[in-house]
């Protein structure tokens, strides 16, 4: 799937001037609030007509203003809104089937059953939206969008109105969805956690402009690209090598191995792993007798100092890592690009099983 977006849009004092093309299956639109993320979603969905611009999906031109503007109801691009927007007087079942009934190519009953099962919606079907919790509403909104058989799914901060616990409840559903359906998604978020877990490609927006774009593995370690949106951290893929008797699982990646607490998944299963910049300590010599399970040999690639903090980009084999230390530590250790050193990893987050 290729999504091309090139927009110039003025709304009050806000100017959006964004241009990007993405081939990622899950592309994250990432940036602080007011960066123009939702405007882009609205323009891609056809809910606003941009002042000028072009939107094309797999070469199908949806917007080319002035000139072409396919109406939202003809675009086959479903949106999951932050506030769910379930139809209040319809049951969950009718909400779910709203788009399905209007779709030209209808999903078959097996697909409907699968979506209901995937999102755990069975017990909710007869209920009215006002009887649902926030997390349940999000799931129904997601199911409703999927059953419209769209060519693309736009998720506009679908989890933003939920508390941390509810977010943790929905994320696995989104994760399964991203892996199981081959549906291209544009995922708007300002949470690194969600992006690191779900996205393949990231488009970073700031004040209405594209600030950076790249793969999730490259961009999340890039302090310039995602400055101001903590936490910084590296994301990369690793493979289960073995489950050891002492309760640890060994994950191999391009640059070494990581020991993590016992994981599900047989040998060879691919996982997405995240190492936060705050969770990495640096040592000049191989440390002995430390409690951390993981010590990785690295080379300093680049250092960026801002205020009293320094972000050190490291290469561990072919994998990029990033560590956040204080400026004074940096001076004390005398860090400079090219130096070999050891990264002591205090904690590893296994985000998901990759496919």
């Amino acid at each position: 799937m290729t999504l091309e977006v090139s927009l110039r849009h003025q709304a009050g004092s806000f100017t959006l001037e964004a241009q990007f093309a993405t081939q990622g299956r899950v592309t994250a639109l990432f940036g602080p609030s007011g960066a123009g993320k939702s405007t882009i979603v609205a323009a891609v969905a056809g809910l606003i007509r941009p002042g000028r611009g072009r939107v094309a999906l797999d070469g199908r031109v949806l917007t080319d203003v002035p000139g072409v503007f396919v109406r939202a109801e003809r675009r086959r691009i479903a949106v999951v809104f932050q506030d769910a927007r379930l139809f209040p007087r319809m049951s969950v079942r009718d909400n779910l089937l709203f788009g399905w009934r209007r779709a030209a190519a209808k999903a078959d009953t097996a697909t409907i059953a699968h979506v209901i099962d995937l999102l755990g919606l069975e017990p909710l079907l007869p209920r009215l939206p006002r009887k649902l919790s926030g997390g349940e509403k999000s799931r129904v909104a997601l199911g409703r969008a999927l059953l419209a058989s769209p060519e693309m799914l736009l998720l506009d901060e679908p989890l933003a109105s939920l508390d941390a616990a509810r977010r943790g409840e929905i994320l696995p559903y989104l994760d399964r969805l991203a892996r199981e359906t081959r549906l291209p998604m544009l995922y708007v978020s300002h949470h690194v956690d969600e992006v690191a877990r779900l996205a393949d490609e990231i488009v970073v927006l700031e004040a209405g402009r594209v600030k950076a774009q790249g793969s999730v593995f490259d961009l999340l370690t890039d302090v310039d690209a995602i400055a101001g949106v903590p936490p910084l951290g590296a994301v990369f893929e690793a493979e289960v090598r073995e489950h050891r008797d002492d309760g640890l699982t060994v994950l191999a990646f391009d640059g070494g191995v990581l020991y993590v607490r016992q994981l599900a998944g047989g040998t060879g299963t691919r996982m997405r792993v995240r190492l936060r910049a705050e969770d990495i300590m640096l040592a000049l010599k191989q440390p002995e007798a430390v409690s951390a399970n993981n010590v990785l040999a690295c080379t300093v690639k680049e250092i960026r100092t801002s205020g009293d903090e320094a972000d050190v980009q490291l290469m561990c084999g072919a994998t990029r890592l990033v560590a956040r230390i204080t400026a004074s530590s940096r001076a004390r250790l005398g860090l400079a690009p090219g130096m070999p050193l050891y990264a002591v990893v205090k904690s590893v987050t296994v985000e998901r099983g990759a496919e």
């Binding site: 969905a45 809910l47 927007r85 209040p88 007087r89 788009g99 209007r102």
Partner: protein, 226 residues
């Protein structure tokens, strides 16, 4: 209940219900569309809004007079309707219904508009992304969200219509069995020597009727919004 009433009384009562029912039912679709227009364009709608609310502040007699000017037997539109469609409003109960509809129109529009304003404007966008075109959205999204307003507006307008006097008597006169609704019957009774008892009975009927519909309206309204 009818057996406690004299034939003339029940005639006036049934006519009142018929006139008010027709007035509310015929005005409702227009009120719905007007409310949508007003809800969509708050600024451009201010002229329309003023026009719609005019019957609420004009003397009903003036409304009746204006109706005569437009729909009277010798007025161009009235004559045309009579000649081509066989519709005559003057001296007919349909004229009474028309007058009532016009007077109570703003009450319906206001109630529907309140319901539309309190509905989530994002729902229409959600429906669009799911493939619903304009008419589809009007029927399946806007109409359901207007239901509480339609119901409460209809009940309020119906109750108010039962009491309409000035516009009816000016436009279609006071003809027993044709245009003599309850208020007009009370007026007629008071004009007759010794008619005070009759007037009092009709008055009690009006009060009972009004209380009944107001209570029913309140209860329905509460149910719908909960």
């Amino acid at each position: 209940m009818i057996e406690y009433l004299t034939p003339a009384e029940s005639q006036a009562l049934l006519l009142s219900l018929r006139v008010s029912g027709a007035a509310v039912a015929c005005a409702m679709p227009f009120a719905f569309l007007t409310a949508i227009l007003l809800a969509r364009r708050p600024l451009g709608g201010s002229v329309l809004g003023g026009l719609v609310h005019l019957p609420l502040v004009l003397p009903p007699v003036a409304v009746g007079y204006l109706l005569l000017v437009v729909f009277g037997a010798r007025a161009p539109l009235g004559a045309w309707l009579d000649a081509n469609l066989g519709i005559r409003f003057v001296f007919s109960w349909t004229g009474a219904a028309l007058a009532s509809a016009l007077i109570t129109f703003p009450l319906q529009v206001r109630a529907i508009r309140l319901a539309l304003d309190s509905a989530d404007p994002g729902l229409a966008d959600a429906a669009r992304t799911l493939g619903a075109g304009p008419l589809d959205r009007l029927v399946n999204i806007t109409l359901p969200s207007a239901v509480p307003g339609l119901v409460s507006g209809a009940i309020t307008a119906f109750s108010a219509s039962l009491g309409e006097f000035g516009a009816i008597i000016t436009f279609v006169s006071n003809i027993p069995g044709e245009t003599q609704t309850l208020p007009l019957a009370i007026y007629a009774a008071l004009q007759t020597p010794g008619g005070e008892t009759q007037a009092a009975r009709l008055c009690v009927m009006s009060i009972v009727l009004a209380l009944f519909f107001l209570t029913a309206g309140e209860l329905t309204f509460r149910r719908l919004w909960r």
